[in-house]
């Protein structure tokens, strides 16, 4: 039942872009047909997920497939369901949003392509999530990856876009090659490509480690775990915003899914694995948000922030792995459910943020934070949505981000150990790290929200502000509701998370109830409501006081300076300057400042940027060196036929003397 609905949804999503391709590039019929198909498909898919949660039954669909080792075998389980919801939801919202954001009439040359691959991306992701056969998984994976490439390079007439797309393509292909090896190893161990838990005796420690490392690389590249994130920031920045939304919200989560799925297959993982994963999570979390603080491109900032949240998710997973190594089911439950819940939460608020950012960019035509300002007056709804997303992503109550981080905190504190059971106190140090991440996130989002929406416009870009069309605000509203709902009623999704955990650790059948026992989710609801009530009360009081007292309007007090100009506002860069300084050992900020001010200062300029350290100082140099090295081999082919014949002769002698 659920499988069928999901498959139907996949098919509809996959073909949703075709009608547009057949139609003329200027006709708007295509985009409506596409959106209709995509929305229908997504609705069916969501129906399938719902059916699974309500009935809890799943009949795997198994068909023979004549590829060597291939078998068409799909099934929905707790994990798949958790990942399916974001896929279909964001695809639905994104398509609707696209109607207003990427009108066919405004983008005749690439609108159809964009819609086509938006559909295939959805289909690929959904397929890979329900695939139970390695080959099928690989198919979904690559369809997703390639669609992602075409989406990133939607505007390939721009050089920057082309370079970004190229880096992305290389990264994703490396991941695919690692998957080749990984699946081959799995097959060698288990004798088939079926994605089923391996028997402990079937694989040597060496093989297990190889599989683990390969999955870390392959899925880490996709998820954007530091330092494998090199493709991510620019890709999210230059893609159209609803593409960024689905890429950052869902696409990179497929890496997480792969990691979760593969680790669920490997029997009794060694303690080091959990430790490594946890450490990677901490690194991604802290450095991700640190880089985010330094950015002044709105979408680049959000992209780095995705790396941070991936870090948090990975921390949860690491905790769960540690729990499995030490047989602490409570760590498994708290860590993994926190991680899975954060997958959802990040999907919701990050998509929300990207869509709001898109609405800003659509209005102002710039991503440069320091060119914006004061938009809250022109586009109040966008500003409100962005504010909700910002509060949520900082993990602040009463919104959803708090809940998942709360679970992970509980788990991390738990590793200190209590009366019974083993402890792993070094994991507990991740808790302060998480606190640091939270505080940095607050700094980051205070900066971006204020610089974009508050204060006064900093450039004429920001004077073009106008509220976006309902087709763009609507999807954002839905996401806002999701954020608030999860934040206030986490108990509702506890059973869903429980199913996910049970699917990961089959011996934990009662994960759902135990989760509610381990974490006081009811208290979160209560406190959330109390908080809202208190805020309303306080607001009411203030409002009442202001009603009954003299209120005047005036200019901001300039500390006595008579003629302040918009340029004098604190920019996002200046806001971040101290923090960037604190992390300069990792961020390597580049500043372009005038030599020294002459006696009579004239017009001069200063600007600073935080490029991606790993990409600029490790990856690209390595590639250029390789190319330089290879270029030396060209002397072997200088066009003289005599030399060529000599090669043959040498090869002949060499092989004759082989043994």
């Amino acid at each position: 039942m659920s499988e069928m609905l999901v498959l139907l949804g996949i098919v509809l999503a996959a073909i949703s872009g075709l009608p547009g391709m057949l139609l003329n590039r200027h006709s708007t019929t295509g985009q409506w047909l596409t959106t209709a198909l995509a929305v229908l498909g997504a609705a069916l898919g969501l129906g399938g997920v719902g059916a699974f949660w309500t009935t809890g039954d799943s009949q795997p669909v198994v068909l023979p497939w004549s590829l060597p080792g291939g078998e068409f075998n799909v099934a929905v389980d707790g994990l798949s369901a958790i990942f399916l919801l974001p896929i279909f939801l964001i695809s639905l919202l994104g398509n609707v949003y696209g109607l207003g954001y990427w009108k066919q009439t405004e983008h005749p040359q690439n609108g159809r392509k964009l819609r086509l691959f938006y559909g295939t991306l959805t289909a690929g992701m959904a397929l890979l999530v329900i695939a139970r056969n390695g080959i099928l998984f690989l198919f979904g994976w690559e369809v997703m990856a390639l669609s992602g490439f075409f989406l990133v390079t939607t505007e390939d007439d721009d050089k920057e876009v082309r370079e970004t797309g190229w880096i992305y393509l290389v990264a994703t292909h490396v991941a695919t090659l690692c998957l080749f090896a990984l699946l081959a190893l799995l097959c060698a161990a288990s004798g088939s490509f079926a994605l089923v838990p391996l028997a402990p005796e079937s694989l040597t420690p060496g093989t297990a480690t190889a599989i683990f490392v390969l999955s870390l690389i392959a899925f880490g590249l996709k998820a954007g775990i530091m330092p494998l994130h090199v493709w991510l920031p620019s890709a999210h920045a230059i893609a159209p915003s609803h593409v960024s939304a689905i890429m950052s919200g869902v696409f990179i989560k497929m890496g997480i899914y792969g990691l979760v799925r593969i680790t669920s297959l490997l029997p009794n993982p060694p303690l080091e694995w959990g430790g490594i994963v946890l450490a990677l999570g901490v690194v991604s979390g802290v450095l991700g948000v640190a880089f985010a603080v330094g950015q002044h491109d709105l979408k680049r900032l959000l992209a780095y922030c995705s790396i941070e949240n991936i870090g948090i998710i990975v921390m949860g997973l690491g905790l769960a792995l540690i729990g499995r190594s030490l047989g602490r089911s409570d760590w498994i439950i708290l860590g993994l459910s926190g991680s899975l819940l954060h997958v959802w939460n990040h999907t919701f608020f990050k998509a929300l943020l990207f869509l709001s950012a898109g609405s800003v960019i659509h209005a102002t035509r710039t991503r440069e934070i320091d060119h914006l300002g004061g938009l809250a007056k022109g586009m109040p709804w966008t500003a409100l949505c962005f504010l909700v997303g910002a509060v949520a992503i900082c993990g602040l109550p009463p919104l959803n981000g708090f809940v998942s981080e709360f679970l992970i905190y509980l788990g991390l504190f738990g590793t200190l150990g209590d009366k019974e059971g083993p402890s792993f106190a070094s994991a507990a140090f991740a808790a302060p790290a998480l606190a640091l991440i939270g505080a940095l996130a607050v700094a980051c989002f205070v900066k971006v929200h204020s610089a974009v929406f508050l204060g006064i416009a900093r450039s004429e870009h920001a004077y073009h502000d106008h509220e976006s069309s309902p087709s763009m605000i609507g999807p954002m509203g839905v996401l806002v509701v999701c954020c608030v709902l999860i934040g206030l009623a986490p108990l509702l999704i506890a059973p869903i998370l429980g199913q996910g955990v049970s699917a990961w650790a089959p011996d934990l059948k009662d994960a759902g109830p135990r989760l509610t026992a381990l974490a006081p989710l009811d208290w979160i609801t209560f406190m959330g409501l109390v908080l809202i009530a208190a805020l309303l009360f306080g607001g009411g009081v203030l409002w009442w006081r202001l009603r009954h007292s003299v209120v005047e309007n005036s200019v901001t007090w300039g500390c006595g300076y008579a003629a302040p100009t918009p340029r004098m506002q604190y920019t996002s860069s200046s806001f971040a300057q101290m923090l960037v300084g604190l992390f300069s050992w990792a961020l390597r900020p580049r500043t372009h400042k005038p030599k020294e001010l002459p006696l009579f200062p004239q017009k001069t300029d200063f600007h600073s940027e935080v490029p991606d350290t790993v990409l600029d100082e490790a990856v690209l140099p390595a590639f250029h060196f390789g190319a330089w090295l290879f270029s030396w081999f060209r002397v072997l082919q200088r066009g003289s036929v005599q030399t060529y014949l000599l090669y043959i002769f040498i090869a002949l002698i060499a092989l004759l003397l082989w043994r």
């Binding site: 004061g374 500003a383 509060v391 900082c394 602040l396 109550p397 708090f402 905190y409 509980l410 504190f413 150990g417 009366k419 106190a425 507990a428 140090f429 808790a431 302060p432 606190a435 640091l436 939270g438 505080a439 607050v442 700094a443 989002f445 205070v446 204020s450 610089a451 508050l454 204060g455 974490a519 006081p520 208290w523 406190m527 908080l531 208190a534 306080g538 607001g539 203030l542 006081r545 202001l546 007292s549 003299v550 209120v551 309007n553 005036s554 200019v555 901001t556 007090w557 300039g558 500390c559 302040p564 918009p566 004098m568 506002q569 604190y570 200046s574 806001f575 101290m578 923090l579 604190l582």
Partner: protein, 305 residues
């Protein structure tokens, strides 16, 4: 019944006492400076005066500017309800309330800073930047300390972690607790923007943190901010007190005076610090905060090694 009464006392104390702390600090400093100084109850008078005043709003501001003080006050007020004061447990207590505490204050910070930036004034921007920056270093220190307490008490409820059970641990793990105490006192100073991090009553905007953030606020809103700040001070003060004197006399009614006394002591200590130490150069602040983190970290390492 008993808890009922205790909770009422808790709430009343928490709502009434905070401004007094400010008064005491001011008085102490005055005495050190050889002045008479303002009356102890001056903060209360200020609050009353502010609430009756009218207000002026900058035309650049939005609703966020008005929301800032409200959120700041209310989050602090809720935080107070999570802290155990005397040996009775706090009115609201559940597993992991320590995390909620930290994040409530975070929410407050988010909106205070945002409200500051709403004015578009570079001075307030500067203040907001410093506030959030220093918080990034204060938070880990706080959590490392909480790790120590959690390890000792084996619980994740502030009421237990800071409860009377803490007393015996001063014998066994005194070193760790002392380290945490020190680092938390530093956190208290920075979170409430006291000297050596910030000088609440200088009027040189460039040097201030908290004060400069609220330059444009006036009237009732400013009153809310002052009161919220006092509550925040009360929260951290209470944590320090619980950590420093967790002793239980056994007579609940005796514990309340002891606690109040403790709070007064803390206030005096703050006053002494403020009047004896010079304000740090802004660039040196992070060093001190990292130091605080290291202190707590060392505390937990001592414990789990």
């Amino acid at each position: 019944m008993n808890t009922m009464i205790h909770n009422t006392i808790h709430i009343l104390l928490a709502l009434m006492m905070p401004p007094l702390l400010l008064g005491i600090i001011a008085k102490t400093k005055a005495l050190f400076a050889g002045r008479v100084g303002p009356p102890l109850l001056q903060p209360y008078y200020d609050l009353v005066k502010l609430v009756q005043k009218g207000s002026v709003f900058s035309s650049t501001t939005t609703w966020v500017f008005r929301a800032g003080p409200v959120v700041g006050l209310m989050t602090a007020a809720l935080a107070v309800l999570l802290i155990p004061l005397a040996n009775s447990s706090a009115p609201i207590t559940f597993t992991g309330d320590l995390i909620l505490l930290a994040y409530l204050l975070g929410l407050g910070r988010f909106f205070t800073a945002t409200a500051a930036l709403d004015t578009g004034s570079s001075f307030e921007g500067m203040g907001a930047a410093r506030e959030v920056t220093f918080a990034c270093l204060a938070e880990p220190a706080l959590f490392l300390g909480l790790l120590v307490l959690a390890k000792l008490s084996g619980s994740l409820q502030l009421s237990t972690m800071l409860g009377s059970s803490l007393g015996p641990h001063w014998m066994t793990a005194g070193a760790s607790l002392a380290l945490v105490l020190l680092s938390w006192f530093i956190v208290l100073l920075v979170e409430n923007s006291r000297i050596p991090f910030d000088d609440p009553n200088t009027h040189l905007e460039l040097t201030m943190i908290h004060e400069v953030m609220v330059l444009d606020h006036g009237g009732p809103a400013f009153g809310m901010i002052l009161y919220g700040a006092a509550l925040k001070l009360f929260v951290f003060g209470a944590m320090i007190v619980r950590l420093a004197f967790p002793l239980a006399t056994g007579y609940p009614w005796l514990d309340w005076p002891i606690f109040v006394g403790g709070m007064l002591v803390v206030a005096v200590v703050i006053g002494v610090v403020e009047s004896t130490i010079a304000r740090l150069r802004l660039t040196h602040v992070p060093v001190l905060l990292v130091g605080a983190c290291l202190l707590s970290a060392f505390g937990i390492v001592l414990l789990v090694r």
